[in-house]
């Protein structure tokens, strides 16, 4: 038994030795070369990892940019947001127009800034009234950052209390009589912009006839059933809405009078903003536009105006004090004579 074990051990040992011999013979590369190869392999793996990581890191910004552009361009999201912003300005800001051609947009990582200049017609000339910057995160706007260049700017938060136009049935704030004195003290060689509130509701055409040809009605405030109480059904103060009465010759203005009258365009805009009211209210800096209540009211009762923004020679505007249709007046901007 012991002899057998010894024999097995010898056979096993010889087998192992044979295998080691075989292994050593099969390796044509010496140890030094093997080390060099391993070193080279490690170096290549490192380079490959660095380069691939670098490539992936460098793809992040272009990838995000592309994603942002796709988000805003596909389905016309950016154009839709721009349309809401510009149309809101036309119907919520008295006597303010804008050059849509000059509107600039800047798309960042899933955010967009739009920037445009706004103008006011005083007398016969348009004056730059300011610059608006609206920042969007995805499709939600922040309150616009306004750089106003006016002498008597409108308040930042639009509401009836801070407004310059008052409904015939609404209480008028005291002390408005001094405004006529202010107009009287202005020299004749000036043109002015005034905000008039009417004694009764009337059609825009009727108002133009009442005021005569020596002044120009720029923007009319429309009665929407909420102006008397000045709050919507939830108790939020509402901002006045209206539309420009004169045709705007600017190519991209919706009030260019090519296909529809300004009244029809106004109703279309309200219907459009009704579907995007949250954004529109933010851009109008109003707590509520209450379009869900206002649009059906306008459809049912028609468009009647309760106030307007009028411009013309100061001497002609003074004469409006005798006009019984006018309840109150507030002076806006005044410029040197340009009434040609």
């Amino acid at each position: 038994m012991k002899e057998d074990n010894q024999k097995d051990k010898e056979i096993y040992q010889s087998y192992i030795n044979h295998s080691i011999q075989d292994f050593e013979n099969s390796q044509s590369i010496n140890v030094k070369d093997q080390r060099s190869m391993i070193k080279k392999g490690k170096y290549m793996a490192l380079i490959t990892s660095i380069m691939i990581s670098l490539a992936i890191l460098l793809l992040i910004i272009p990838g995000m940019t592309l994603g942002s552009y796709l988000y805003y361009a596909v389905g016309g999201k950016a154009n839709h947001l721009i349309e809401i912003a510009t149309k809101t300005v036309y119907v919520t800001e008295p006597n303010i127009s804008l050059e849509e051609m000059e509107l600039e947009e800047n798309i960042k990582f899933f955010s967009m800034d739009i920037q445009f200049e706004v103008f006011k017609r005083i007398g016969k000339e348009d004056y730059k009234a300011g610059e608006y910057l609206i920042k969007y995160a995805f499709d939600k706007p922040r309150f616009p950052e306004k750089t106003i260049l006016l002498d008597r700017p409108l308040p930042k938060i639009a509401s009836m209390e801070s407004n310059r136009i008052f409904h015939p049935d609404a209480l008028k704030p005291p002390g408005l009589e001094v405004e006529w004195d202010l107009l009287k003290k202005l020299p004749d060689g000036t043109v002015s912009e005034v905000y008039i509130s009417l004694s009764k509701l009337m059609k825009a055409g009727e108002l133009e006839k009442q005021l005569g040809k020596n002044v120009e009605v720029r923007w009319v405030a429309v009665d929407t059933g909420l102006e008397k109480k000045q709050i919507d059904k939830e108790g939020y103060p509402v901002a006045p809405i209206g539309y420009p009465l004169q045709l705007d010759q600017t190519t991209w203005s919706p009030f260019n009078g090519r296909d529809q009258t300004n009244e029809e365009v106004f109703m279309d805009i309200l219907e459009f903003l009704r579907n995007n009211e949250e954004n529109a209210a933010k851009i109008a800096s109003a707590k509520s536009l209450a379009l869900e209540e206002r649009v059906p009211y306008l459809k049912k009762n028609g468009i009647y105006v309760y106030g307007a923004v009028v411009t013309g020679p100061t001497s002609e505007l003074r004469k409006l004090q005798k006009n019984e249709a006018i309840r109150t007046m507030k002076v806006g901007e005044v410029k040197l004579w340009n009434w040609k």
Partner: protein
């Protein structure tokens, strides 16, 4: 079980060493991509055609050559070509998308 050592076979295996053209293609693509990143971060007004057209074109050609080189790893060639193609697709897609946003003459 037997201890068997495979004898060295001289198979025509693809080596792990990348092609020189592939490596150059990858490096070119990374430089172009870095240029694109800088242009995007700086909000650069002028069109950086060197980084968006010329370099990726060179990278694409080098990558193409590297792809057909025998006995070498094609990894870098594929990466180089992928990145160069991405830059081209990015450039032309961005043109189209930017044009469609606020399209006024």
């Amino acid at each position: 079980m037997e201890l068997e050592v495979k004898s060295k076979k001289k198979k025509r295996q693809r080596q792990r060493v990348p092609t020189v053209t592939g490596l150059l293609s990858f490096v070119t693509a990374i430089i172009a991509l870095a240029g694109l990143n800088i242009a995007l971060l700086m909000d650069y007004d002028e069109f950086p055609d060197f980084f968006l057209i010329k370099l990726p074109l060179v990278g694409l050609i080098l990558g193409g050559i590297g792809l057909f080189t025998q006995k070498r790893s094609r990894l870098f060639s594929i990466w180089g070509m992928f990145l160069c193609l991405f830059i081209f697709i990015f450039t032309f897609t961005m043109f189209g998308l930017a044009w469609s946003i606020n399209p006024k003459p």
